[in-house]
Amino acid sequence: MSPAPLTPTASELRELALTEAEYRRALDLLGRAPNRLELGMLGALWSEHCSYKTSRPLLSRLGSTGPQVVVGPGENAGVVDLGGDLLCCFKIESHNHPSAIEPVQGAATGVGGILRDVFAMGARPVAILDALRFGDLGDASQRHRFAKVVEGVGFYGNCVGVPTVGGETYFDPAYAGNCLVNAMCVGLARRDQLLHAVARGVGNPVLLVGADTGRDGIHGATFASVQLDEQAEGRRPAVQVGNPFLEKCLLEACLELAGHPAVIGLQDCGAAGLTSSCAEMAQRGGVGIALDLDKVARRESGMTPYEVMLSESQERMVLVVERGRESEVRAVFDRWELRSDVIGKVIADPELRLSSAGEEVARLPLEVLVDGFMPRHPPRSRPAEVAARLEADPLALEPRWPLEESWLRLLASPNCGDTAWIYRQYDHQVGDDTVAGPGGDAAVLRLRGRPDGLALTVDGAHRSAVLDPRRGTQLAVAEALRNLACAGAEPLALTNCLNFGDPDQEEVMWQLDEAVAGLAEAARELGVPVVSGNVSLYNDLSGAGIPPTPVVGMVGRVEQVRRSPGAAFSRSGDLVYLLGPEGAELGGSELQRLAQGEVLGPPPALDLGLELRVARAVAAAVGGAIARSAHDSSLGGRAVTLAESCVAGGLGAEVELPSPGPGSPRGWWWGVLFGETSGRYLLSVDPGSEAELVGICRREGAPHRLVGTVGGEAISIRGVVSIPLAAAAAARAGSLEGPMAAALT
């Protein structure tokens, strides 16, 4: 075999994200020294990004079964049954590292990648959601990054013609060095069109379709598996460049072929390019693949086999087709003016065998390439200062601002305010199915020809995860559930993206371990299976890691789709009901972060059993059109929830909250108004429907209390604090528009 084996230096191994121990393991498993190409392939597939070698041992704890689950984790995306012959296919994925280096293309190709994961399953993408994190908007470089990431998400989604229907964006100085860009895609497939990423049938041809292969994105997978550093800018060649027009054609061609009897398997070329797509397809089918690299269409001349195999050029798919029927399949790609080439064939030996210029240039058994990585169990420990932070009593602190000022500052925070600046740059309507778009609690899509629909949401909870990663992750799941409930939906399943720092730090590994445990527990208690997910580690610029940031995407089913006011109060005189637990607390709250610059004390309280009971009551009240509005309480607590419902409807409200008892701490009212206890909602109801609402709450065992009435020009907590409706509206409207308008001038 040529070229000859090599003995790599320590720095060469580092470039491939391989340790010396891993290199020795490769020698042991192969019984020989790998050549440079083989070593590059091993480096890519053994990277954290591809192998999940650090997180995989933890992820087995996640429950992924249920009667509705058709495909769980391990394929391109999870699939749930919507009844009839319709399936829903979805996944969330991160593109954090590329977006930090080149925000437009990094974000755009993040969207492109998750779209391919969904249409690789034979599903038509019908919705995109994004979860974004940046540093403080006061910093010009952060505003730039934010604006460019939004531009990138919009650029790709708008051009492909898939609506971006929801998302969440959060600004915190802790993300200044490492922005987070998570994109979720939801697709629909007919049952008989579901495709799998598998190679079968010895002798069947392997096709590469779509874009030509270039030098872009080489080492993208390994790049995503190491810390960013000050030299990261120099890694820009590791960021791919997206072509959404090509993707749109590829999408249409692949969907035309979904259900075609000649198509055996379809897989997108994502991280580690041809190496991972071919290795994974062959591994799933218990076969091997032989590739003739000279058959791979290239964007530029002089590319080596190494570059061809590790290129992460976008908009490419690998197909395995029944022998003799290549021309039927290629005709579809021809019609869409897409290049398709037979680049290899399925072989019986379970290995990846590569040739170029008539010579074998690499030969790796799949059990080595795919399964030979060394599972890592880095030490983990809970740092002492984490425990110390939990000891603090936030309510005992002197509040920094009076109640009124605290309230208005929260409303003006870009984390609580109006997000129209973002979503008006996203086409959120194409497809003609968006019943409720971005800006509300959950997006709602109708399903054509059926009374029911989908509710979609994506949520994270890093402030509480800093204090307690387990609880924080559960809070993210709970918030997703609440958002679905506000749309009248029952959850079907969830996908997750775990964004963490450097797992070689004991604290980070502990955070990850705790977060996965929390996710598993919340998913089990709330009855929501985890059908897909992604782990993004090493979000750590020069040792300054991000807060643990679990992000949860949840899909639910709305039994009867109708147009509803969502969070907005819609009529004066309607009654305002508070559902869920009472109590005062401030730990891990947005107010605390704003006022103190850090979070302290116990994270928001969460009772998963109660969470589920209240969510069921809210879903029933909204689904049955008994509630006229529903809005869950999360960021900023009850007072912000109330103000949001008022501003959305252009109506004031007066509510009464229980007075403090004797000996209540100094910050008690702040804790009542701005505490972020989980499981709370504000509903408005016509006085004539009050009895029905109360009946539902009693039936479901949901705590409920009449707290006030809709109407007037003020938003007021009786006897405590009041703000003019117009002031609240102005604060919310300017929260993103203000800083971003200033940035443009």
């Binding site: 749109k248 054609c249 740059q425 497809g431 968006t434």
Partner: protein
Amino acid sequence: MGLRCGIAVFPGTWSERDCAHAVELAGGEPVMLWHAERDLKGSDLVILPGGFAHGDYLRAGAIARFAPLMAAVEGHAAAGGPVLGICNGFQILCEAGLLPGALLRNSCLQFRCQSTHLRVETDASPFLSGLGVGRVLEIPISHGEGRYYAPPEQLAQLEAAGRVALRYCGPGGELGDAHNPNGSLHHIAGVLNAAGNVLGMMPHPERACEPLLGSADGLPLFQAALRQLARA
């Protein structure tokens, strides 16, 4: 069997299915027309839908105008057949010379997807007949390049000939920069050819055909054209 509404599909078109749905709601029969074929398949009406035909490379619509299908569309238009260009379809009609003017980058330099109000300026088109001049429609936009531009003399001629079909306005029909989402000259959202049978508009009427999706104000455009064809 309803009247046949041909819907052009270029590589990169994405609102062909939305348009087909709107046509069905209006009682027509949608039929997809492939860009590479010079065949309208017996269409009574032709729609050029939204999207990014040929990736909008070079300029929006600049490549699509050379598609074999466009020759057939030009023939259909010349014979007085109704043609509706929506968003990217409007851009293609301008590039093809079937409509005057051009669509430039939004003045805000960003993509905009939002609800807009449109004032109906004339009823001298199959798509607008019977809607009522002065009527305000709520129809969303979704574009990055929708700023209508024509040289001053051409603009004056268009205005004098009553060929401005739709203008961006406020909910009460009032005109003003605050209601103009992209900086279009004279707040123009849609224009007609001289005969009135070709309408180009940036907003998406096919997205506003059902109250469930927020507005049904786009449906009358499809219905009006089909009604007139049925009478002919």
